[in-house]
Protein backbone atom coordinates (compact mmCIF):
# COMPACT_ATOMS: atom_id res chain seq x y z
CA UNK A 1 0.00 0.00 0.00
CA UNK A 2 1.14 3.52 -0.73
CA UNK A 3 2.35 5.86 1.95
CA UNK A 4 1.43 9.52 1.88
CA UNK A 5 4.20 12.12 1.93
CA UNK A 6 3.64 12.94 5.61
CA UNK A 7 4.11 9.28 6.59
CA UNK A 8 7.37 9.06 4.67
CA UNK A 9 8.70 12.23 6.29
CA UNK A 10 7.65 11.04 9.73
CA UNK A 11 9.34 7.68 9.26
CA UNK A 12 12.50 9.31 7.92
CA UNK A 13 12.79 11.83 10.76
CA UNK A 14 12.29 9.12 13.40
CA UNK A 15 14.84 6.81 11.83
CA UNK A 16 17.32 9.67 11.43
CA UNK A 17 16.97 10.45 15.12
CA UNK A 18 17.66 6.85 16.02
CA UNK A 19 20.63 6.73 13.67
CA UNK A 20 21.96 9.99 15.12
CA UNK A 21 22.02 8.32 18.52
CA UNK A 22 23.88 5.34 17.08
CA UNK A 23 26.61 7.07 15.05
CA UNK A 24 29.59 4.73 15.57
CA UNK A 25 32.46 6.29 17.45
CA UNK A 26 30.41 9.21 18.71
CA UNK A 27 30.67 10.39 21.42
CA UNK A 28 34.16 9.26 22.33
CA UNK A 29 34.61 6.65 25.01
CA UNK A 30 35.18 8.27 28.39
CA UNK A 31 33.78 11.71 27.45
CA UNK A 32 31.09 12.23 30.06
CA UNK A 33 29.96 15.69 28.96
CA UNK A 34 29.57 14.66 25.33
CA UNK A 35 27.74 11.48 26.32
CA UNK A 36 25.20 13.38 28.39
CA UNK A 37 24.60 16.07 25.74
CA UNK A 38 24.40 13.48 22.96
CA UNK A 39 22.02 11.31 25.01
CA UNK A 40 19.70 14.15 25.91
CA UNK A 41 19.60 15.52 22.34
CA UNK A 42 18.90 12.03 20.95
CA UNK A 43 16.15 11.38 23.45
CA UNK A 44 14.43 14.68 22.77
CA UNK A 45 14.73 14.15 19.00
CA UNK A 46 13.33 10.63 18.99
CA UNK A 47 10.51 11.25 21.47
CA UNK A 48 9.46 14.51 19.80
CA UNK A 49 9.67 13.06 16.30
CA UNK A 50 7.56 10.04 17.14
CA UNK A 51 4.85 11.83 19.08
CA UNK A 52 4.59 15.03 17.04
CA UNK A 53 4.59 13.01 13.86
CA UNK A 54 1.96 10.66 15.27
CA UNK A 55 -0.23 13.65 16.13
CA UNK A 56 0.14 15.06 12.60
CA UNK A 57 -0.56 11.69 10.96
CA UNK A 58 -3.67 11.25 13.10
CA UNK A 59 -4.93 14.61 11.81
CA UNK A 60 -4.62 13.24 8.29
CA UNK A 61 -5.95 9.78 9.06
CA UNK A 62 -8.93 10.74 11.15
CA UNK A 63 -11.05 7.96 12.51
CA UNK A 64 -14.60 7.59 11.29
CA UNK A 65 -17.33 7.18 13.85
CA UNK A 66 -18.18 3.47 14.25
CA UNK A 67 -21.11 2.34 12.09
CA UNK A 68 -24.31 1.53 13.95
CA UNK A 69 -24.92 -1.87 12.29
Amino acid sequence: MKLVKAEKIWLAVCIMGYLFYNIPGFPQYGDMRAAVIHGVVSMVWVWAANYIGFFIINRIYRLKKPRQD
Binding site: M1, L3, V4, A6, E7, W10, L11, C14, G17, Y18, Y21, N22, P24, G25, P27, Q28, Y29, G30, D31, M32, A34, A35, V36, H38, G39, S42, M43, V46, W47, A49, N50, Y51, G53, F54, I57, N58, R59, I60, Y61, R62, L63, K64, P66, R67
Partner: protein
Protein backbone atom coordinates in the same frame (compact mmCIF):
# COMPACT_ATOMS: atom_id res chain seq x y z
CA UNK B 1 19.64 -13.54 53.45
CA UNK B 2 16.88 -14.57 55.87
CA UNK B 3 14.55 -11.63 55.95
CA UNK B 4 11.47 -13.73 55.34
CA UNK B 5 10.45 -16.96 56.96
CA UNK B 6 9.24 -19.70 54.60
CA UNK B 7 5.83 -19.62 56.28
CA UNK B 8 5.45 -15.91 55.44
CA UNK B 9 6.55 -16.58 51.89
CA UNK B 10 4.03 -19.40 51.50
CA UNK B 11 1.25 -17.15 52.77
CA UNK B 12 2.27 -14.55 50.16
CA UNK B 13 2.43 -17.13 47.36
CA UNK B 14 -0.84 -18.84 48.13
CA UNK B 15 -2.66 -15.61 48.88
CA UNK B 16 -1.44 -14.04 45.65
CA UNK B 17 -2.35 -17.09 43.57
CA UNK B 18 -5.80 -17.32 45.12
CA UNK B 19 -6.51 -13.72 44.18
CA UNK B 20 -5.26 -14.21 40.61
CA UNK B 21 -7.14 -17.49 40.18
CA UNK B 22 -10.28 -15.96 41.64
CA UNK B 23 -10.18 -13.11 39.13
CA UNK B 24 -9.54 -15.55 36.31
CA UNK B 25 -12.42 -17.79 37.34
CA UNK B 26 -14.83 -14.87 37.61
CA UNK B 27 -13.88 -13.46 34.20
CA UNK B 28 -14.26 -16.81 32.44
CA UNK B 29 -17.59 -17.48 34.19
CA UNK B 30 -18.85 -14.06 33.17
CA UNK B 31 -17.64 -14.51 29.60
CA UNK B 32 -19.33 -17.90 29.32
CA UNK B 33 -22.54 -16.46 30.75
CA UNK B 34 -22.55 -13.75 28.10
CA UNK B 35 -21.10 -15.51 25.07
CA UNK B 36 -21.49 -19.23 25.63
CA UNK B 37 -18.47 -21.07 24.24
CA UNK B 38 -15.65 -18.77 23.17
CA UNK B 39 -12.24 -18.86 21.55
CA UNK B 40 -9.75 -19.27 24.39
CA UNK B 41 -6.97 -17.75 22.31
CA UNK B 42 -8.67 -14.57 21.16
CA UNK B 43 -10.60 -11.61 22.48
CA UNK B 44 -11.03 -7.95 21.63
CA UNK B 45 -10.09 -5.60 24.43
CA UNK B 46 -10.75 -1.96 25.31
CA UNK B 47 -7.68 0.22 25.56
CA UNK B 48 -7.04 0.18 29.35
CA UNK B 49 -7.06 -3.60 29.36
CA UNK B 50 -5.03 -3.90 26.18
CA UNK B 51 -2.39 -1.40 27.31
CA UNK B 52 -1.97 -3.12 30.67
CA UNK B 53 -1.93 -6.68 29.33
CA UNK B 54 0.55 -5.54 26.70
CA UNK B 55 2.89 -3.99 29.26
CA UNK B 56 2.51 -6.78 31.81
CA UNK B 57 3.11 -9.56 29.30
CA UNK B 58 6.00 -7.61 27.74
CA UNK B 59 7.87 -7.04 30.98
CA UNK B 60 9.31 -10.06 32.72
CA UNK B 61 11.19 -10.92 35.89
CA UNK B 62 14.16 -9.08 34.43
CA UNK B 63 12.55 -5.89 35.74
CA UNK B 64 13.47 -7.07 39.23
CA UNK B 65 16.60 -9.11 38.46
CA UNK B 66 18.70 -8.40 35.40
CA UNK B 67 17.21 -4.92 34.90
CA UNK B 68 18.64 -3.15 37.96
CA UNK B 69 21.83 -5.16 37.51
CA UNK B 70 22.03 -4.00 33.91
CA UNK B 71 21.79 -0.37 34.90
CA UNK B 72 24.28 -0.95 37.72
CA UNK B 73 26.77 -2.17 35.14
CA UNK B 74 25.70 -0.20 32.07
CA UNK B 75 25.27 3.18 33.69
CA UNK B 76 23.60 6.34 32.46
CA UNK B 77 24.44 5.61 28.83
CA UNK B 78 22.58 2.30 29.02
CA UNK B 79 19.53 4.27 30.18
CA UNK B 80 19.95 6.61 27.19
CA UNK B 81 20.07 3.60 24.85
CA UNK B 82 16.81 2.27 26.30
CA UNK B 83 15.06 5.63 26.39
CA UNK B 84 15.92 6.17 22.74
CA UNK B 85 14.27 2.97 21.53
CA UNK B 86 11.07 3.19 23.59
CA UNK B 87 9.37 5.92 21.51
CA UNK B 88 10.27 4.13 18.27
CA UNK B 89 7.46 1.75 19.20
CA UNK B 90 5.00 4.37 17.96
CA UNK B 91 6.33 4.37 14.42
CA UNK B 92 7.18 0.66 14.42
CA UNK B 93 3.67 -0.40 15.45
CA UNK B 94 2.03 2.15 13.17
CA UNK B 95 3.68 0.74 10.05
CA UNK B 96 3.46 -2.93 10.96
CA UNK B 97 1.00 -4.45 13.41
CA UNK B 98 -1.47 -1.58 13.11
CA UNK B 99 -1.82 -2.35 9.39
CA UNK B 100 -2.35 -6.00 10.28
CA UNK B 101 -5.08 -4.91 12.69
CA UNK B 102 -6.93 -3.28 9.80
CA UNK B 103 -6.70 -6.52 7.81
CA UNK B 104 -7.62 -8.61 10.83
CA UNK B 105 -10.85 -6.63 11.26
CA UNK B 106 -12.13 -8.61 8.27
CA UNK B 107 -9.87 -11.70 8.30
CA UNK B 108 -10.23 -12.73 11.96
CA UNK B 109 -6.73 -14.02 12.72
CA UNK B 110 -5.88 -16.00 15.83
CA UNK B 111 -2.21 -17.01 15.70
CA UNK B 112 0.77 -14.87 14.61
CA UNK B 113 1.26 -17.17 11.62
CA UNK B 114 -2.28 -16.55 10.38
CA UNK B 115 -1.40 -13.20 8.80
CA UNK B 116 1.73 -14.61 7.15
CA UNK B 117 -0.31 -17.45 5.68
CA UNK B 118 -3.12 -15.15 4.58
CA UNK B 119 -0.73 -12.88 2.68
CA UNK B 120 1.47 -15.52 1.10
CA UNK B 121 -0.84 -18.59 1.06
CA UNK B 122 1.96 -21.00 1.87
CA UNK B 123 1.14 -23.87 4.27
CA UNK B 124 4.85 -24.50 4.69
CA UNK B 125 5.37 -20.87 5.70
CA UNK B 126 2.69 -21.32 8.35
CA UNK B 127 4.53 -24.34 9.73
CA UNK B 128 7.98 -22.68 9.67
CA UNK B 129 6.77 -19.44 11.28
CA UNK B 130 4.71 -21.48 13.73
CA UNK B 131 7.82 -23.39 14.81
CA UNK B 132 9.75 -20.12 15.19
CA UNK B 133 7.01 -18.53 17.31
CA UNK B 134 6.70 -21.70 19.37
CA UNK B 135 10.46 -21.85 19.94
CA UNK B 136 10.27 -18.23 21.15
CA UNK B 137 7.38 -19.00 23.54
CA UNK B 138 7.85 -22.19 25.50
CA UNK B 139 11.33 -21.65 27.01
CA UNK B 140 10.08 -18.32 28.36
CA UNK B 141 7.33 -20.09 30.33
CA UNK B 142 9.89 -22.36 31.94
CA UNK B 143 12.40 -19.57 32.60
CA UNK B 144 9.82 -17.42 34.39
CA UNK B 145 8.88 -20.23 36.75
CA UNK B 146 12.57 -20.85 37.44
CA UNK B 147 13.12 -17.14 38.17
CA UNK B 148 10.13 -16.85 40.51
CA UNK B 149 11.29 -19.90 42.45
CA UNK B 150 14.75 -18.36 42.67
CA UNK B 151 13.22 -15.08 43.91
CA UNK B 152 11.44 -17.01 46.66
CA UNK B 153 14.69 -18.73 47.56
CA UNK B 154 16.60 -15.42 47.68
CA UNK B 155 13.96 -13.72 49.80
CA UNK B 156 14.14 -16.50 52.41
CA UNK B 157 17.87 -17.09 52.33
CA UNK B 158 17.50 -20.42 50.57
CA UNK B 159 14.91 -21.79 53.01
CA UNK B 160 12.17 -22.25 50.38
CA UNK B 161 11.97 -25.56 48.59
CA UNK B 162 12.59 -24.81 44.93
CA UNK B 163 10.56 -27.77 43.67
CA UNK B 164 7.58 -26.91 45.83
CA UNK B 165 7.50 -23.31 44.61
CA UNK B 166 7.75 -24.35 40.94
CA UNK B 167 4.96 -26.89 41.35
CA UNK B 168 2.60 -24.58 43.19
CA UNK B 169 3.11 -21.50 41.00
CA UNK B 170 3.51 -23.39 37.77
CA UNK B 171 0.47 -25.59 38.17
CA UNK B 172 -1.72 -22.73 39.43
CA UNK B 173 -0.71 -20.64 36.44
CA UNK B 174 -1.38 -23.48 34.00
CA UNK B 175 -4.79 -24.14 35.54
CA UNK B 176 -5.99 -20.54 35.51
CA UNK B 177 -4.74 -20.02 31.96
CA UNK B 178 -6.47 -23.22 30.84
CA UNK B 179 -9.73 -22.33 32.54
CA UNK B 180 -9.68 -18.63 31.78
CA UNK B 181 -8.45 -18.06 28.25
CA UNK B 182 -7.28 -14.83 26.65
CA UNK B 183 -9.71 -12.33 28.19
CA UNK B 184 -9.19 -13.72 31.64
CA UNK B 185 -5.42 -13.55 31.18
CA UNK B 186 -5.80 -9.92 30.06
CA UNK B 187 -7.61 -9.07 33.29
CA UNK B 188 -5.12 -10.87 35.52
CA UNK B 189 -2.29 -9.23 33.57
CA UNK B 190 -3.87 -5.84 34.25
CA UNK B 191 -4.05 -6.46 38.00
CA UNK B 192 -0.56 -7.93 38.10
CA UNK B 193 0.79 -5.09 35.98
CA UNK B 194 -0.50 -2.51 38.44
CA UNK B 195 0.87 -4.57 41.34
CA UNK B 196 4.37 -4.98 39.93
CA UNK B 197 4.60 -1.33 38.90
CA UNK B 198 3.50 -0.26 42.35
CA UNK B 199 6.07 -2.55 43.97
CA UNK B 200 8.83 -1.31 41.69
CA UNK B 201 8.08 2.37 42.37
CA UNK B 202 7.94 1.77 46.11
CA UNK B 203 11.20 -0.19 46.13
CA UNK B 204 12.90 2.47 44.00
CA UNK B 205 11.81 5.34 46.22
CA UNK B 206 12.68 3.45 49.42
CA UNK B 207 16.12 2.58 48.05
CA UNK B 208 16.76 6.20 47.10
CA UNK B 209 15.59 7.47 50.50
CA UNK B 210 17.68 5.07 52.57
CA UNK B 211 20.79 5.03 50.43
CA UNK B 212 21.00 8.61 49.21
CA UNK B 213 18.76 10.64 51.48
CA UNK B 214 16.05 10.81 48.85
CA UNK B 215 18.17 12.91 46.49
CA UNK B 216 18.98 11.82 42.95
CA UNK B 217 21.68 14.48 42.80
CA UNK B 218 23.29 13.04 45.90
CA UNK B 219 23.05 9.60 44.32
CA UNK B 220 24.91 10.78 41.23
CA UNK B 221 27.53 12.51 43.40
CA UNK B 222 28.09 9.26 45.29
CA UNK B 223 28.45 7.35 42.02
CA UNK B 224 30.96 9.90 40.73
CA UNK B 225 33.01 9.59 43.91
CA UNK B 226 32.88 5.78 43.76
CA UNK B 227 33.62 5.07 40.13
CA UNK B 228 34.43 8.42 38.50
CA UNK B 229 32.88 9.51 35.24
CA UNK B 230 32.95 6.01 33.67
CA UNK B 231 29.36 5.33 34.75
CA UNK B 232 28.22 8.47 32.92
CA UNK B 233 30.05 7.84 29.68
CA UNK B 234 30.53 5.11 27.08
CA UNK B 235 31.27 2.24 27.36
CA UNK B 236 30.35 2.32 31.07
CA UNK B 237 32.14 1.14 34.23
CA UNK B 238 31.79 -2.53 33.29
CA UNK B 239 32.20 -1.77 29.56
CA UNK B 240 28.63 -2.80 28.92
CA UNK B 241 27.60 -0.07 26.50
CA UNK B 242 30.01 -0.31 23.66
CA UNK B 243 28.89 1.23 20.34
CA UNK B 244 27.78 -2.19 19.14
CA UNK B 245 25.88 -3.03 22.30
CA UNK B 246 24.09 0.32 22.52
CA UNK B 247 22.63 -0.40 19.09
CA UNK B 248 22.34 -4.20 19.04
CA UNK B 249 20.38 -4.83 22.21
CA UNK B 250 17.92 -1.87 22.03
CA UNK B 251 17.35 -2.53 18.33
CA UNK B 252 16.53 -6.16 19.08
CA UNK B 253 14.13 -4.92 21.75
CA UNK B 254 12.54 -2.41 19.38
CA UNK B 255 11.74 -5.06 16.75
CA UNK B 256 11.90 -8.43 18.45
CA UNK B 257 10.85 -7.72 22.01
CA UNK B 258 8.06 -5.16 21.51
CA UNK B 259 6.67 -6.17 18.11
CA UNK B 260 7.54 -9.66 16.92
CA UNK B 261 7.51 -11.81 20.05
CA UNK B 262 4.29 -13.77 19.56
CA UNK B 263 2.49 -12.80 22.76
CA UNK B 264 2.82 -9.05 22.08
CA UNK B 265 2.27 -9.54 18.36
CA UNK B 266 -1.24 -10.92 18.88
CA UNK B 267 -1.99 -8.09 21.30
CA UNK B 268 -0.87 -5.23 19.09
CA UNK B 269 -2.11 -6.75 15.82
CA UNK B 270 -5.33 -8.58 16.71
CA UNK B 271 -6.73 -7.63 20.10
CA UNK B 272 -7.62 -3.95 19.95
CA UNK B 273 -11.31 -3.24 20.06
CA UNK B 274 -11.00 -0.45 17.53
CA UNK B 275 -8.45 1.95 16.09
CA UNK B 276 -8.85 4.34 18.99
CA UNK B 277 -7.64 1.47 21.17
CA UNK B 278 -4.74 0.85 18.80
CA UNK B 279 -3.72 4.51 19.01
CA UNK B 280 -3.83 4.44 22.79
CA UNK B 281 -1.55 1.39 22.80
CA UNK B 282 0.87 3.12 20.42
CA UNK B 283 1.04 6.30 22.45
CA UNK B 284 0.84 5.01 26.04
CA UNK B 285 3.07 1.93 25.87
CA UNK B 286 6.35 3.85 25.42
CA UNK B 287 5.46 6.09 28.36
CA UNK B 288 4.82 3.11 30.63
CA UNK B 289 8.00 1.43 29.41
CA UNK B 290 9.92 4.60 30.22
CA UNK B 291 8.36 4.69 33.69
CA UNK B 292 9.15 1.06 34.52
CA UNK B 293 12.69 1.04 33.19
CA UNK B 294 13.49 4.45 34.72
CA UNK B 295 12.65 3.11 38.16
CA UNK B 296 14.72 0.04 37.37
CA UNK B 297 17.51 2.45 36.40
CA UNK B 298 17.01 4.29 39.69
CA UNK B 299 17.51 1.08 41.66
CA UNK B 300 20.64 0.24 39.66
CA UNK B 301 21.99 3.76 40.22
CA UNK B 302 21.30 3.59 43.95
CA UNK B 303 22.97 0.19 43.98
CA UNK B 304 26.25 1.38 42.54
CA UNK B 305 26.11 4.53 44.68
CA UNK B 306 25.69 2.53 47.88
CA UNK B 307 27.37 -0.79 47.02
CA UNK B 308 30.06 -0.17 44.42
CA UNK B 309 32.40 -2.84 43.13
CA UNK B 310 29.98 -5.76 43.09
CA UNK B 311 30.75 -8.74 40.92
CA UNK B 312 28.80 -8.67 37.66
CA UNK B 313 26.92 -11.89 38.44
CA UNK B 314 25.91 -10.66 41.89
CA UNK B 315 24.45 -7.39 40.57
CA UNK B 316 21.38 -9.36 39.42
CA UNK B 317 20.41 -9.50 43.10
CA UNK B 318 20.88 -5.80 43.79
CA UNK B 319 17.37 -5.32 45.21
CA UNK B 320 17.69 -7.97 47.93
CA UNK B 321 21.22 -6.72 48.65
CA UNK B 322 20.05 -3.14 49.18
CA UNK B 323 17.13 -4.30 51.32
CA UNK B 324 19.28 -6.64 53.43
CA UNK B 325 22.41 -4.54 53.83
CA UNK B 326 21.18 -0.94 53.91
CA UNK B 327 17.47 -0.79 54.69
CA UNK B 328 17.20 -3.71 57.15
CA UNK B 329 19.69 -2.27 59.71
CA UNK B 330 17.74 1.03 59.67
CA UNK B 331 14.19 -0.27 59.49
CA UNK B 332 13.64 -4.03 59.70
CA UNK B 333 9.87 -3.79 59.35
CA UNK B 334 10.18 -1.87 56.09
CA UNK B 335 12.81 -4.33 54.91
CA UNK B 336 10.44 -7.25 55.37
CA UNK B 337 7.74 -5.35 53.48
CA UNK B 338 10.14 -4.55 50.66
CA UNK B 339 11.27 -8.14 50.39
CA UNK B 340 7.65 -9.23 50.11
CA UNK B 341 7.18 -6.59 47.41
CA UNK B 342 10.27 -7.87 45.63
CA UNK B 343 8.82 -11.35 45.50
CA UNK B 344 5.22 -10.28 44.73
CA UNK B 345 6.44 -7.87 42.04
CA UNK B 346 8.66 -10.53 40.46
CA UNK B 347 5.85 -13.08 40.63
CA UNK B 348 3.34 -10.64 39.13
CA UNK B 349 5.49 -9.54 36.27
CA UNK B 350 6.66 -13.10 35.68
CA UNK B 351 3.31 -14.84 35.74
CA UNK B 352 1.76 -12.22 33.46
CA UNK B 353 4.49 -12.92 30.90
CA UNK B 354 4.46 -16.69 31.26
CA UNK B 355 0.69 -17.09 30.91
CA UNK B 356 0.70 -14.94 27.77
CA UNK B 357 3.45 -17.02 26.22
CA UNK B 358 1.69 -20.20 27.29
CA UNK B 359 -1.52 -19.06 25.62
CA UNK B 360 0.07 -18.07 22.32
CA UNK B 361 2.29 -21.16 22.27
CA UNK B 362 -0.77 -23.34 22.75
CA UNK B 363 -2.61 -21.47 19.97
CA UNK B 364 0.23 -22.26 17.57
CA UNK B 365 0.00 -25.98 18.33
CA UNK B 366 -3.79 -26.05 18.42
CA UNK B 367 -4.59 -23.83 15.42
CA UNK B 368 -1.51 -23.77 13.21
CA UNK B 369 -0.53 -27.40 13.61
CA UNK B 370 -3.51 -29.51 14.69
CA UNK B 371 -6.49 -27.74 13.13
CA UNK B 372 -4.87 -26.53 9.92
CA UNK B 373 -2.74 -29.62 9.45
CA UNK B 374 -5.71 -31.96 9.72
CA UNK B 375 -8.03 -29.45 8.04
CA UNK B 376 -11.03 -30.51 10.02
CA UNK B 377 -14.13 -28.38 10.31
CA UNK B 378 -14.57 -27.91 14.02
CA UNK B 379 -17.25 -26.17 16.03
CA UNK B 380 -16.33 -23.38 18.42
CA UNK B 381 -16.92 -25.78 21.29
CA UNK B 382 -14.55 -28.39 19.83
CA UNK B 383 -11.88 -25.76 19.15
CA UNK B 384 -12.25 -24.50 22.70
CA UNK B 385 -11.82 -28.00 24.07
CA UNK B 386 -8.72 -28.71 21.96
CA UNK B 387 -7.27 -25.35 22.94
CA UNK B 388 -7.68 -26.01 26.67
CA UNK B 389 -6.20 -29.50 26.42
CA UNK B 390 -3.17 -28.16 24.55
CA UNK B 391 -2.64 -25.38 27.14
CA UNK B 392 -2.77 -27.98 29.89
CA UNK B 393 -0.31 -30.30 28.13
CA UNK B 394 2.38 -27.81 27.19
CA UNK B 395 1.99 -26.02 30.51
CA UNK B 396 2.67 -29.28 32.28
CA UNK B 397 5.73 -29.86 30.08
CA UNK B 398 7.00 -26.36 30.91
CA UNK B 399 6.57 -27.09 34.63
CA UNK B 400 8.47 -30.38 34.27
CA UNK B 401 11.33 -28.55 32.57
CA UNK B 402 11.30 -25.90 35.30
CA UNK B 403 11.78 -28.57 37.97
CA UNK B 404 15.11 -29.52 36.44
CA UNK B 405 15.83 -26.94 33.78
CA UNK B 406 18.13 -28.21 31.05
CA UNK B 407 20.97 -25.94 30.01
CA UNK B 408 19.39 -25.72 26.57
CA UNK B 409 16.50 -23.76 28.08
CA UNK B 410 18.76 -20.83 28.85
CA UNK B 411 20.23 -20.96 25.37
CA UNK B 412 16.74 -20.96 23.84
CA UNK B 413 15.69 -17.96 25.94
CA UNK B 414 18.55 -15.97 24.49
CA UNK B 415 17.20 -16.84 21.10
CA UNK B 416 13.62 -15.82 21.74
CA UNK B 417 14.01 -12.18 20.80
CA UNK B 418 16.64 -12.93 18.18
CA UNK B 419 14.83 -15.60 16.18
CA UNK B 420 11.65 -13.61 15.63
CA UNK B 421 13.48 -10.52 14.35
CA UNK B 422 14.15 -11.86 10.82
CA UNK B 423 10.39 -12.26 10.34
CA UNK B 424 9.91 -8.48 10.52
CA UNK B 425 11.13 -7.70 6.98
CA UNK B 426 8.93 -10.52 5.66
CA UNK B 427 5.96 -8.92 7.38
CA UNK B 428 6.73 -5.44 6.04
CA UNK B 429 7.35 -6.59 2.48
CA UNK B 430 4.16 -8.60 2.69
CA UNK B 431 2.15 -5.52 3.65
CA UNK B 432 3.69 -2.94 1.32
CA UNK B 433 4.89 -4.86 -1.74
CA UNK B 434 2.58 -7.02 -3.79
CA UNK B 435 5.53 -8.41 -5.70
CA UNK B 436 6.89 -10.16 -2.61
CA UNK B 437 6.52 -13.88 -3.29
CA UNK B 438 5.73 -16.83 -1.08
CA UNK B 439 8.94 -18.56 -2.09
CA UNK B 440 10.94 -15.54 -0.95
CA UNK B 441 9.01 -15.45 2.33
CA UNK B 442 9.59 -19.14 2.99
CA UNK B 443 13.28 -19.06 2.12
CA UNK B 444 13.86 -15.94 4.19
CA UNK B 445 12.04 -17.38 7.21
CA UNK B 446 14.51 -20.31 7.13
CA UNK B 447 17.61 -18.32 6.17
CA UNK B 448 16.89 -15.72 8.85
CA UNK B 449 16.82 -18.44 11.51
CA UNK B 450 20.03 -19.96 10.19
CA UNK B 451 21.78 -16.59 10.24
CA UNK B 452 20.68 -16.05 13.85
CA UNK B 453 22.10 -19.48 14.76
CA UNK B 454 25.35 -18.54 13.05
CA UNK B 455 25.37 -15.18 14.84
CA UNK B 456 25.36 -17.06 18.13
CA UNK B 457 27.32 -20.25 17.47
CA UNK B 458 29.67 -19.48 14.63
CA UNK B 459 30.48 -15.78 14.87
CA UNK B 460 29.89 -15.70 18.62
CA UNK B 461 28.40 -12.19 18.58
CA UNK B 462 24.84 -13.04 19.54
CA UNK B 463 25.17 -11.25 22.86
CA UNK B 464 25.65 -7.95 21.03
CA UNK B 465 23.78 -8.32 17.75
CA UNK B 466 20.94 -10.74 18.56
CA UNK B 467 18.84 -11.05 15.38
CA UNK B 468 19.95 -7.81 13.73
CA UNK B 469 22.11 -9.57 11.15
CA UNK B 470 19.33 -12.03 10.33
CA UNK B 471 16.93 -9.13 9.92
CA UNK B 472 19.36 -7.25 7.66
CA UNK B 473 19.95 -10.36 5.52
CA UNK B 474 16.20 -10.83 5.06
CA UNK B 475 15.68 -7.15 4.27
CA UNK B 476 17.96 -7.65 1.26
CA UNK B 477 17.07 -11.24 0.41
CA UNK B 478 13.29 -10.76 0.24
CA UNK B 479 13.33 -8.39 -2.76
CA UNK B 480 16.20 -10.22 -4.45
CA UNK B 481 14.46 -13.62 -4.36
CA UNK B 482 11.04 -12.10 -5.14
CA UNK B 483 12.34 -10.38 -8.27
CA UNK B 484 14.28 -13.46 -9.36
CA UNK B 485 11.24 -15.67 -8.75
CA UNK B 486 8.24 -15.55 -11.08
CA UNK B 487 5.36 -13.54 -9.61
CA UNK B 488 2.77 -15.32 -7.48
CA UNK B 489 -0.80 -15.55 -8.69
CA UNK B 490 -2.30 -12.16 -7.67
CA UNK B 491 -5.51 -13.91 -6.65
CA UNK B 492 -3.67 -15.52 -3.72
CA UNK B 493 -3.04 -12.22 -1.97
CA UNK B 494 -6.20 -10.53 -3.22
CA UNK B 495 -8.22 -11.18 -0.06
CA UNK B 496 -5.42 -9.80 2.12
CA UNK B 497 -5.07 -6.57 0.14
CA UNK B 498 -8.81 -6.21 -0.33
CA UNK B 499 -9.21 -6.38 3.45
CA UNK B 500 -6.48 -3.77 3.88
CA UNK B 501 -8.05 -1.39 1.36
CA UNK B 502 -11.56 -1.97 2.56
CA UNK B 503 -10.47 -1.47 6.16
CA UNK B 504 -8.63 1.74 5.33
CA UNK B 505 -11.73 3.05 3.59
CA UNK B 506 -14.02 1.85 6.37
CA UNK B 507 -12.10 3.15 9.38
CA UNK B 508 -10.36 6.29 8.17
CA UNK B 509 -11.53 9.67 6.99
CA UNK B 510 -8.35 10.65 5.16
CA UNK B 511 -7.72 14.37 4.90
CA UNK B 512 -4.67 15.13 2.87
CA UNK B 513 -3.08 18.46 3.75
CA UNK B 514 -3.42 21.07 0.99
CA UNK B 515 -0.31 21.66 -1.08
CA UNK B 516 1.06 25.21 -1.27
CA UNK B 517 -0.43 25.55 -4.80
CA UNK B 518 -3.87 24.60 -3.54
CA UNK B 519 -3.55 27.03 -0.65
CA UNK B 520 -2.59 29.77 -3.09
Amino acid sequence: MTLLKPSVMWICIIGYLLIVMGISRFISWNQRRREGHFNVFKATLPWPLLVMTYIASLMSVWVFFAGPGGYYRGGLTYWFSEMTYFPMFVVAMYFSTNKIWVVNARRNYVTPSDCFYDRFRSPMLRIVTGIIFLAASIPYVTSVMVSIAQAASVATGGAMNYTAVVLVIGLAMVVFTTVGGFKSVAWTDTIQGLVFMGCLVFIGIAALMYCCGGSLTACFHMIYENVGDSWFSYPGTYEWTSYGARFGYPFSCMIGYTIMLPHVFVRSAYSGMDLRTQRKVMSITPLLQALVWSFTFLIGAVGIAALPGMDAGVTEMIIPYIVENIINPANSGLAVGLMIMFFVGAAGVGISTADSFLLVGASVISDDFIIHAFRKELTVRQKERIGRIVILCIGAIAVLFALNPPELIYTLIMFSIAIVMPLFPILLYGIYWRRATKKAALICSIVGTVVVLMTYFVWNIGGTWYGAIGLAVNAILMPVISLWDKPDNPAESEEFYAALEEGTERFYDIRHPKSSKEKA
